[in-house]
């Protein structure tokens, strides 16, 4: 009497992959030159930074938290990395610094949320503005550029992170390997470690988890720091893909990551979600972005449709929660 029919659950699991395939077919039919190797590479390239953001924030959303500072922290880290490089810092150190800026903001979010008990929404709204401001202040609102593939000194940067002539393929998408690697690591952490188990437990019932003798505050700190690491990496991938970083941007990019996570089946109320789902959600976002521009619809339309997708994704989340509650009775 308490069993939910198996079909229903499977339907929900299939929804995201089905949406991805339908979108791809749709744009292939209506987009200009969408079904091509070049566009496929573009889709991949757009998915790198969204992917890294999304992997990180998946952990946070499963704990029932949220990170609104994703986008601006990503930009801030890419911006500061480029700035130090321009100032004469060795490229490898700038790369490390980029990642560290992400980790720093993760630590800051973690402190505010886990130790000082600020609601995640407010805390990360604050760091969103702090990180955006900080990037602009340090760079004196000047655009910063990372080395291009043809640069003599830093040409390896793009070749390492985005595309290179590898395995006899001209312009092999190296970034996809990084994305895949990050995906595997994130999956292992989420599904195969204590850290992952505690992530779900906290999202499902934080107080019960604390009473089970688990140091919830410390683990939560850890989750925000790990997420910061992923966001720093996202900054690097963004830098490698788009080269020029403009201060004062990044606001709104967090929605790409968060939406990817939610479309992928992670519940905004915490306690459930998978990394595979997030990966699919990320591709939905990048297919959407690339597809819209192949239809001749530029940035404003992309923003418009991202908004529509956010609303649809959250509606789906509500329906899922309802279904779960029905199963309770």
């Amino acid at each position: 009497m308490k069993k939910l029919s198996g079909d229903k659950i499977d339907m929900n699991k299939l929804l995201a992959p089905a949406a991805l395939i339908i979108l791809y077919i749709f744009f292939s039919a209506f987009g200009n030159n969408f079904f091509s190797a070049d566009t496929f590479k573009n889709i991949l390239e757009a998915s790198y930074y969204i992917g890294f953001m999304a992997f990180g924030v998946t952990f946070i959303i499963i704990t029932g938290g949220i990170d609104l500072s994703l986008g601006t922290v990503m930009m801030c880290s890419a911006l500061l990395g480029a700035y130090t490089f321009k100032q004469g810092c060795p490229l490898i150190l700038s790369v490390l610094l980029t990642i560290l800026v992400g980790v720093f903001f993760g630590l800051l979010n973690g402190l505010l949320i886990a130790k000082l008990k600020l609601p995640p929404f407010i805390a990360t709204l604050g760091t969103q503005m702090v990180s955006q401001g900080m990037g602009s202040i340090i760079t004196k609102v000047q655009s910063q550029t990372w080395p291009t593939a043809t640069d003599l000194t830093g040409g390896w940067f793009k070749r390492t992170f985005i595309r290179a002539n590898l395995f006899g393929i001209n312009g092999f998408p190296v970034g996809a390997l990084w994305l895949l690697g990050a995906f595997v690591i994130a999956t292992l952490i989420l599904h195969k470690t204590k850290f992952g188990r505690y992530t779900y437990a906290m999202g499902s019932n934080e107080e019960a988890t604390r009473l089970s003798g688990i140091n919830v505050d410390n683990w939560k700190m850890g989750i925000y720091i790990l997420s910061g690491l992923f966001i720093g990496m996202a900054g690097l991938m963004y830098a490698a893909a788009y080269t020029t970083i403009t201060p004062g941007t990044g606001n709104g990019q967090e929605m790409n990551g968060i939406t990817g996570v939610v479309i992928g089946g992670t519940s905004m109320s915490g306690g459930s979600g998978t990394m595979v789902g997030t990966l699919i959600g990320v591709f939905i976002m990048s297919v959407l972005k690339t597809g819209l521009s192949s239809c001749g619809l530029q940035a404003p339309w992309q923003t418009f449709f991202t908004g529509v997708v956010v609303i649809l994704a959250v509606l789906m989340d509500i329906q899922r929660t309802k279904a779960a509650n029905r199963a309770k009775k």
Binding site: S204, N205, T209, L211, G213, A327
Partner: protein, 497 residues
């Protein structure tokens, strides 16, 4: 004998895959209090939801005052004089009593509220019910019992309410408040209102009801006059089998047994100078009224709240307990009175819940060993006889009794040998209760030490080797089971300063 005013016959209700009501029937007489009892899932709530228009019946007939009626919506039911007060209070805490009573039916003059007239109407209503509640009071400042009465007043504010359904009205009330509620119900009865009373507390039925209707598995079992049956007979009708562990006549614990837990002069905001000892294999009952400080004491011992002063010793050695982590490491497992809030991650599987405190111990390498975790959780689920399709099932799909067993096995798996059961059978049906009792006795026999906090005296007297009674944060008495009885315990429980 009073005439029958409501007759439900041959009621059928199907939910996907479930035959929830199978030819259910019910008769209510004028001005009586009818108890509707049955285990969880027996169909009481479904039947009441059909009566009050929340669900529509698939088959069957309902007659009110001899006339066949068709109830389509809650509004429909209210118009016909049938109202329900749900188990969870549905009041808006920040609105006033009057605003709550007339919500959705506000007294308006044109565009504006007519507050004065509305308050007056509410005042008249409350006075007619002999309730000493001011209509302008904001609801959150009332006691739970008073809020309950506001709910009932709201139900009665519909013109000519003849039938009132009360679903577990005493679940959140203290003994004094229950008495207040009963007086109120008797007054309603005298006014000719019929009350259908749903409760899991068997001892209340004798006090307040005239007749008892028993349901089991969606079917009508029997209606009896309350005077003519014993509680044990009712319980047997409910479960269809003889139940209950044998009550304890004397302590099973050797007075020289090792003291495993010793609390000395514990103090906090709600706990005053509490000291006691718990012996190996003992079930130590904690009795008292609501707010006596029993749960608060338990929370100090398990580190959920900070204590101001006091010492906790385990097997003679002082331990530092400042957070739940410390107490779990010391081998203390706390089973909260509110399982869903403090005990379980409802959305996670049985296995995930069971291994949660033990992950540190069970998985020392980088990755968790899934197979081993499943193996041990299966072993412990079987040990405490948890009924679940598999250990991968989400805990929210389990019955209350089985959820409680998941919490028990969670602590057993963590090697806890001091278990604090806080209201272990709250919200669990009769069959499930007995399973929990049996399990607790088995655990004590194995040498685990148990603190049992309960507001149900009969259950404490049945289970404990020794009973500590608290009142207003202090220990006011200690009784060996051989000398304990309800009157004695109540005397200490009300021994205020």
């Amino acid at each position: 004998m009073q005439p029958v005013i409501l007759r439900m016959e041959g009621i059928e209700k199907y939910f996907p895959g479930v035959h929830a009501l199978d030819h259910a029937q019910l008769e209510v007489r004028e001005g009586e209090v009818l108890a509707l009892v049955g285990e969880n899932g027996a169909g009481k709530s479904t039947l009441m939801k059909i009566l009050t228009g929340v669900y529509t019946k698939d088959e069957g007939s309902i007659e009110l005052f001899g006339e066949p009626i068709d109830i389509q919506s809650p509004h429909d039911a209210q118009k016909r004089g049938i109202s329900i007060v749900h188990q969870e209070l549905n009041l808006m805490p920040d609105l006033t009593v009057a605003e709550n009573i007339y919500i959705g039916r506000e007294n308006v003059r044109g565009f504006f509220l007519n507050q004065r007239e509305q308050n007056q109407a509410a005042e008249e209503l409350l006075q007619s019910l002999h309730l000493n509640i001011q209509p302008r009071t904001v609801v959150k400042y009332l006691t739970v019992a008073k809020q309950q009465m506001v709910e009932i007043a709201k139900a009665l504010s519909f013109p000519n309410t003849k039938i009132l359904v009360l679903d577990e009205p005493t679940a959140a009330l203290t003994d004094g408040e229950i008495e207040e509620l009963f007086t109120f119900i008797r007054r309603l009865k005298a006014n000719g209102v019929s009350v259908i009373y749903i409760s899991h507390r068997m001892d209340e039925l004798k006090q307040i009801t005239d007749r008892i209707t028993v349901m089991r598995d969606g079917q009508f079992v029997k209606s009896v006059n309350t005077e003519e049956v014993t509680i044990d007979e009712v319980v047997q009708l409910m479960v269809g089998r003889v139940i209950y562990e044998e009550p304890k006549m004397q302590s099973n614990v050797d007075p020289g047994a090792e003291v495993v837990l010793e609390a000395e002069h514990l103090n906090s905001a709600d706990v005053k100078d509490v000291s006691f000892q718990l012996r190996k294999g003992e079930i130590l009952g904690f009795a008292g009224l609501m707010g006596a400080g029993r749960t608060e004491t338990a929370r100090l011992i398990c580190g959920a709240d900070k204590r101001e002063s006091g010492v906790i010793r385990i097997r003679g050695k002082e331990v530092r307990i400042n957070c739940p982590r410390d107490s779990v490491r010391a081998g203390i497992g706390y089973l909260s009175e509110d399982r869903k809030r403090y005990g379980l991650c409802l959305g996670l599987s049985v296995e995930d819940n069971m291994v949660l405190p033990s992950l540190e111990r069970l998985s020392t390498s980088l990755f968790v060993n899934d197979r081993k975790l499943t193996e041990v959780s299966k072993e412990y689920a079987a040990k405490v006889r948890t009924k679940t399709a598999s250990v991968k099932t989400a805990v929210r799909n389990l019955s209350g009794g089985n959820q409680q067993k998941v919490v028990v096995s969670k602590w057993l798996l963590r090697n806890c040998d001091i278990l604090i059961f806080d209201e272990p059978t709250r919200g669990i049906d009769v069959g499930g209760k007995n399973e929990i009792y049996k399990l607790m006795n088995e655990l004590a026999d194995e040498g685990k030490s148990i603190i049992m906090i309960s507001s149900e005296l009969p259950e404490l007297l049945r289970m404990s080797d020794r009973i500590i009674v608290m009142c207003e944060g202090r220990i006011t008495g200690e009784l060996d089971i051989a000398e304990a009885n309800q009157e004695e315990v109540m005397r200490y429980a009300t021994k205020r300063r």
